[in-house]
């Protein structure tokens, strides 16, 4: 079944188009990797999927489980099962991580017509998830991301994902800046959640992560669109050759698409 279908997506900020006609289809149970040079629009795609209002969608469509995703407010998207692990996780002062997650989980459960989970059950549930990402107990009680190290923030994103149990998880460079041990923890978190009911979009700059999370499909993104799609071997190829060829191909394509001046 088709989980996510993006067609001819154009989006940007005030007059600057960042996504320039992007197509992407993710079926349930699949893990997709999106690779691409800095500035190619990977984070923009992730944020548009999560519903960030700063980006205006000027053309195209996004269909999530048969619904028009662009019609939904960001919190509704989350409650419908979309999760974004941020490239730069945000600090929420004064609100403990565990309290925050309980409120989030209950908002999601309420949306789904489930009963609120009480504090005791929640704590037991959270403990089981903490083990997977080797979260220190202490980080549960600190304000969300406040004073967390870079690695702790990334692990916390995966922890949030584990707790909120999404249907489509988008990970935006969760591997950046992680040492090999932390990287393995993140990969284990994702692998433990792989299931026929769930889909993943894993945005990464490096091939390294894909040694641990083996993707079903690899895309190359350049200049705001997908320029090549292949199997897991494509990632290794990119590592060896870089994005050079793709960048030139994309430039040529962009030029060809421009209306002739004069």
């Amino acid at each position: 079944m088709c989980l996510l279908k993006i067609e001819n997506l154009h989006a940007g900020v005030e007059g600057t188009e960042i996504l320039t006609g992007l197509d992407l289809t993710v079926k349930v149970g699949e893990v997709h990797a999106i690779m691409g040079p800095n500035g190619s629009g990977k984070s923009t795609l992730a944020q548009v999927l999560a519903g960030r209002a700063d980006y205006e969608v000027t053309a195209g469509s996004i269909t999530y489980r048969g619904e028009d995703l662009l019609e939904l407010a960001p919190e509704i998207r989350a409650r419908e099962g979309i999760f974004l692990a941020f490239q730069y996780p945000v600090e929420i002062p004064g609100v403990s991580n565990v309290y925050f997650l309980k409120a989030a989980l209950n908002a999601i459960r309420k949306h789904r017509g489930q009963e609120e989970i009480d504090a005791m059950d929640f704590l037991a549930y959270v403990k089981s998830k903490m083990e997977i990402v080797k979260m220190e107990e202490e980080l549960l009680h600190r304000p969300v991301n406040e004073g967390f190290s870079g690695g702790e923030k990334k692990r916390n994103e995966i922890f949030h994902m584990e707790v909120l149990d999404p249907t489509l998880a988008v990970l935006d460079e969760t591997d950046s800046g992680l040492d090999i041990d932390a990287l393995k923890i993140v990969a284990e978190g994702v692998n433990s959640m792989r299931s026929p009911e769930r889909g993943f979009i894993i945005i990464t700059h490096y091939q390294r992560l894909l040694n641990f999370i083996v993707p079903d499909v690899v895309h190359v993104m350049v200049g705001g669109r997908i320029v090549e799609t292949g199997g897991k071997e494509l990632a290794l190829e990119l590592e060896a050759k870089g994005y050079g060829g793709h960048t030139r191909a994309a430039e040529a394509a962009a030029e060809a698409a421009m209306p002739a001046s004069g």
């Binding site: 999560a50 519903g51 960030r52 209002a53 700063d54 205006e56 939904l72 407010a73 960001p74 919190e75 998207r77 989350a78 409650r79 999760f83 974004l84 941020f86 996780p89 945000v90 600090e91 929420i92 002062p93 004064g94 609100v95 403990s96 309290y99 925050f100 997650l101 409120a103 989030a104 989980l105 908002a107 999601i108 949306h111 304000p143 949030h160 909120l164």
Partner: protein
């Protein structure tokens, strides 16, 4: 398209004050203006003894020599003291709204959200309820229990008549009648207020609340409160309530004095939610210029101020403690919220006089809209205050990017054994935080209430339990009005 954080915040800020005002009603009033005649008139109306009149007149004459202070970080049009009315007769039954049916449904909706019982809703909305309220059994049992314990809790006007020796001894002993411009004005024309006396060794059997004091709704704009805690006594006093109170007076200049003897402990909690003015234009709203001070006169005594300030156009108050007794303790816990065009300049003064005196200051300022929030605090350690200690923490939270937070800590240490600790932080709640919360399934309203309550929890935990629940709800309701 989903709304951006800024748009949500704008919507929030554009919300009307849900609690509005009820229309004017005629009252028996003096013409506007202030002179000795007015002071005499008020004193006579209150059946006051000669000494009280003299005290007021002395304050009035001193007031004439003072100038209105302009050092607080707030701006407002000049106040014409001769254009104000200084005495309005208590409303007679039949003058005001006749029943809750006459009250703006919006106000009633807010009362219900805050979980305020019907009888109290009537009182707050200005429906004449004296008789009804008197008959409420809780008020009666309450009086009996206090009398049994020997606690005096009555309007200060009554105390002046019934307990002149106590009033004479303590009135003005902490806040002298000439202390400052507004305190002097209050001393000259105060209308009424509360009087509390806790005898030696008595632990007051219940929390004292202005809520339960008959006629509390008519204390007017110049309220005066005096609390005396004898040796080893203990009392917790609650002022105000979370529900918005109907009030036509623009200037409020209240005075609160607390006198704590040896080993006595006084906890004073305030929730202030007066009309903040029009959120779009900043027009109207209460000017809340208050002088609150306590003295820990005896050894090992303790005075603790906790305030949640969400209302008023301008708030100007510094609940303070003079730590005179050795080993005495002063505390100040504050949450101040400014949104729309509200301005607050608030904080505390801790004056360490005695040895091994300790003070704690926790201040949380929240600004939204175009609100301006200033913390101003002074910690003074005098020469003989060996081993004095202070801990201060001043945190500011900005919601949106058109509001402001300012911190002015003044420290004056004259004894080298003093230990001072100061922490401060400013955090900003903007689109990034709201979007992050949204990406986890929390809407803007949930997110803001989560963040704000988290930010304030150190102060809320100092409030008596029921009050803390109310205060949380109040913040939620006032921000709900805010987050569209």
């Amino acid at each position: 398209m989903p709304l951006s954080g800024t748009e949500i915040i704008d919507q929030e800020v554009a919300q009307e004050y849900k609690w509005g005002f009820v229309t004017d009603i005629e009252q028996e009033t003096l013409p506007p203006g202030l002179d000795e005649g007015v002071v005499r008139f008020i004193s006579a109306k209150k059946d006051e003894p000669e000494w009280m009149l003299e005290w007021r007149l002395k304050a009035y004459r001193h007031w004439l020599t003072l100038e209105e202070p302009h050092w607080p970080n707030v701006t407002y049009p000049e106040i014409d003291y001769q254009a104000m009315i200084y005495w309005a007769a208590p409303k007679k039954a039949g003058d005001g709204p006749q029943s809750l049916d006459d009250i703006d449904p919006e106000i009633l909706a807010t009362y219900n959200k805050l979980g305020i019982p019907l009888e109290e809703q009537k009182m707050l909305a200005g429906v004449a309820v004296d008789a009804v309220f008197d008959s409420v059994s809780v008020a009666t049992t309450f009086k009996d229990r206090l009398a049994e314990a020997g606690v005096i809790f009555c309007p200060i006007s009554e105390a002046i008549r019934e307990h002149p020796e106590l009033v004479k001894k303590y009135l003005g002993s902490v806040v002298p009648s000439g202390d400052n411009f507004f305190a002097a004005l209050n001393a000259a024309v105060f209308s009424d207020g509360s009087f509390v006396y806790i005898p030696a060794g008595v632990r007051c059997p219940m929390e004292l609340s202005t809520y339960f004091r008959i006629n509390a709704q008519n204390t007017g704009q110049f309220e005066r409160t005096l609390i005396i805690a004898e040796k080893g006594s203990h009392v917790s006093y609650l002022e105000g309530c979370t529900a918005p109170k109907r009030d036509e007076n623009q200037l409020h200049a209240a005075v609160v004095e607390i006198y704590a003897h040896e080993d006595a402990e006084v906890k004073y909690s305030t929730v202030q939610n007066w009309y903040p003015g029009d959120p779009k234009t900043g027009k109207g709203g209460i000017y809340n210029f208050v002088t609150k001070r306590g003295i820990c006169a005896g050894a090992r005594s303790k005075i603790s101020w906790t305030q949640v300030e969400t209302g008023s156009a301008i708030t100007w108050k510094y609940p303070s403690v003079i730590l005179k007794g050795d080993d005495s303790t002063g505390e100040f816990y504050s949450v101040a919220v400014t949104k729309g065009f509200q301005q607050a300049d608030t904080g505390t003064k801790m004056i360490h006089v005695g040895k091994n005196t300790r003070s704690t200051i926790i201040s949380k300022g929240i600004s939204a809209g175009r609100g301006q929030n200033t913390y101003r605090g002074q910690v003074k350690i005098l020469k003989n205050a060996d081993g004095a200690r202070n801990f201060s923490q001043c945190d500011s939270m900005l919601i949106g990017d058109r509001c402001g937070a300012h911190t002015f800590p003044y420290i004056d240490v004259q004894n080298t054994t003093a230990q001072m600790e100061h922490e401060a932080s400013t955090s900003k709640i903007g689109e990034d935080q709201l979007f992050y919360c949204a990406s986890r399934g929390l809407d803007a309203e949930d997110a803001l209430s989560l963040i704000v309550n988290g930010f304030c929890k150190e102060v809320f935990k100092e409030l008596p339990m029921e009050f803390a629940v109310e205060a949380r709800r109040l913040l939620e309701v006032s921000l709900e009005g805010s987050v569209g």
